[in-house]
Amino acid sequence: MKRLMVVFLIIGMMLVSGAFTALAAEEINVIYMAQAAYQPDEVRDMADLFEELSGIKVNLEFVKYDEQHEKVVLSAVAPVPTYDVFSLDLIWTAEFASKGFCVALDDYITPEVRADIAPAIMDAFVFDGKTWAMPFLANFQLFFYNIDMIKQAGFTGPPKTLEEMVEQMKAMKKKGIVKYPWTDSWNQKEGLTCEYVWLTGAFGGDTFDEKGRPIFNTGPGLKALEFMVMLLDEGLANPKALTNDEPAARDDFIAGNAAFTSNWTFQYGSMNDPAVSKVVGAGKMGLLPVSKDVLGKYPYDSASVSGFQGAAILANSKNKEAAWKYLRYITSPIVQRAYLTEMPVWTSVQTSAYAMTMDPVIDIKAKEIASVHHRPKVPPYPEVSSILQRYIHLALEGKMKPKAALDKAKAEIEAVMGL
């Protein structure tokens, strides 16, 4: 009996002391999607230093991209949230903001901060006139070309326009340099929407208007889809592109099976890695070309698509102040300067002499990032994008004509949005 009491006493003491340490130190829970961006150990390093400086304990959870949305929703719906801070893909901004899942950060973000982040980046996280996340990662698509193939085909440099690119591809095909000069990630996933958004931009427009209404079925949107279908019909695009995700499209390119592709920033690293790439030296990165009719419309005659990630605070978090401190820290110029593997969001860091020396292509990246088009900012985004993907894919498979596919997509999207 005595022994039992001693055991209980010890357990009781442990519980009490545990409760006190929990009270003494502030703690925040963070969920971060580990994908082709800052890697978990890097995020952990950032958190370690933050703990050291602030005394706030950071519990990190890493999940796959596909799980993040679900987990954040679950945490927002729960009476007691699992997380305080989460990484937010820009396409969720409208949805989470309209449902009140995250906190508007306008009171926290100072004018100095705003002045140093390009509007193209900040705008991605604005919905209903408020800012819902602090930009953390600036991903976007770039143009990749194989200069050896271009030269073999008898041209001197990369194409400036889409039309010029088609001309080069036809020459390559004719000379048998490469079977399918174009590859891409056109499988029926989010990547397809991204490709379609930049191509619509390259034909001079956007998929949705400023009021969030779909306009893609005429003009630039239609031209973009017709262009994609034409590439397949003419045998210029690899039919395998219809089943490719982004890593698969990269693999096509770095295996030397394509002359051109568009992809996110991560391809640059693999392309120059002799262990995996057959196109080291030949593979180059540049600005995505636009249609010749659009020349002069954009500052750098290029169009891209944004894939930004922000850091946001859950509305039911009990530690909002600590959460903001953490958020401000991981998105700060000093941290981004230390991790130049990803494109910094701060103009002062992008243009610093240090960044220029460390990253020889930062100049191209800075120009491309200023040329991004956003995917539509509408609350039912997952559904809207899914409809778009489905009809675009049907057109690519040749089962529908581009115009008919886009008309139907527009009608369905309007029904979902209640327009």
Binding site: V77, P79, G100, N187, Q188, T243, S386, H393
Partner: protein
């Protein structure tokens, strides 16, 4: 026998012992089921701190039955997937069981390794076939085709592609297009069948073993050939186990999700995938619940038909 004070009757003891598992089942199975059924009559969406719901009666069910073409596409596609998979599994399963029921050297070894695919988790199986079917030169199947000189060195087949098979054959082609079949779907059927056939074989084999040899001997003396022996002796005796297999497999095939989602995400919308997309991606909890009950309704309907068709008095 006299009971001591405080001793429990065996029924009461049984119910006390069962209580924890019943509680768990109520919490994790029956509770969510009832809640989902309740949600299926509501327009339910997540909001901060809970779920908002608005009663809309049968609207969710009516929407899918009469207004949503995607739902009927999913029904056709799922039915096709189920029927084709079942036919292949049954033919292969019965065939393999018949072979394994004969005596030959190394039979115990073959019987045990045959079960290996079934022991694989579906996720592992899906990932493995993803590598096999990869549409690049890294794909194992493409590699094999090249080694065997069936494909030229610079050709890579897109195994998980969206082409409609037999498109040029008049009726078959339009049927395939109507059900939404694609090369990818057939490849997935193959991958799934590879994994599940051993289970069918095992069940059939278990039913074959008690059939006495003298039935066949007698039939042989009466002049019955192998086929008529199978048709008149084996098949009727296999009926009960076939019923079990059919119900079990139809249920599993009709709600297939994992292998298709892992290999193709949302691009092959069978009912399981569609339900997940509506419920968990678009966050329409009400609609998603309605969809899952519709799936259950279909399975129930099919199961009833099976029981009617195959139920018979056992002849032993």
């Amino acid at each position: 026998m006299r009971r001591r004070v405080g001793e429990l009757s065996s029924e009461r003891l049984a119910s006390i012992l069962l209580l924890p598992s019943i509680l768990i089942i109520v919490c994790v199975v029956i509770g969510p089921l009832v809640f989902a059924f309740y949600l299926s009559f509501y327009k339910a969406e997540p909001v901060i701190g809970g779920i908002s719901s608005e009663f809309i009666g049968f609207s969710n069910y009516l929407y899918y039955c009469f207004k949503d073409p995607l739902f009927w596409n999913a029904v056709r596609l799922t039915t096709y997937f189920t029927v084709v998979s079942l036919i292949i599994e049954l033919i292969l399963g019965i065939g393999m069981a018949l072979v394994l029921n004969k005596r030959f050297i190394g039979r115990p070894f073959v019987r045990s390794i045959m079960l290996l695919p079934w022991a694989l988790p579906t996720v592992v199986n899906a990932r493995m076939w993803e590598w096999i079917y990869a549409g690049s030169s890294f794909g194992a199947l493409n590699g094999l085709m090249k080694v065997l000189h069936i494909f030229p060195a610079d050709y890579d087949a897109v195994w998980l592609g969206f082409g409609v098979p037999f498109q040029n054959i008049p009726l078959v082609g339009s049927f395939m297009e109507w059900v939404g079949a694609s090369t990818a779907l057939h490849m997935i059927i193959l991958a799934d069948t590879w994994k599940v056939t051993p289970l069918v074989t095992l069940l059939v084999l278990a039913a074959l073993q008690p059939i006495p040899d003298n039935y066949y001997e007698a039939a042989g003396i009466d002049g019955a050939g192998a086929w008529s022996q199978f048709w008149h002796i084996t098949f009727p005796l296999l009926r009960p186990v076939l019923l079990v297999i059919l119900v079990l497999r139809t249920m599993e095939l009709f709600r297939v999700f994992d292998i298709i989602y892992i290999l193709m995400q949302y691009s092959i919308r069978v009912m399981g995938v569609y339900t997940f997309e509506v419920g968990m991606k678009f966050l329409h909890f009400g609609k998603g619940s309605a969809l899952s009950f519709l799936v259950a309704l279909f399975i129930l309907g099919i199961a009833l038909i099976y029981v009617k068709l195959l139920h018979s008095e056992e002849i032993y």
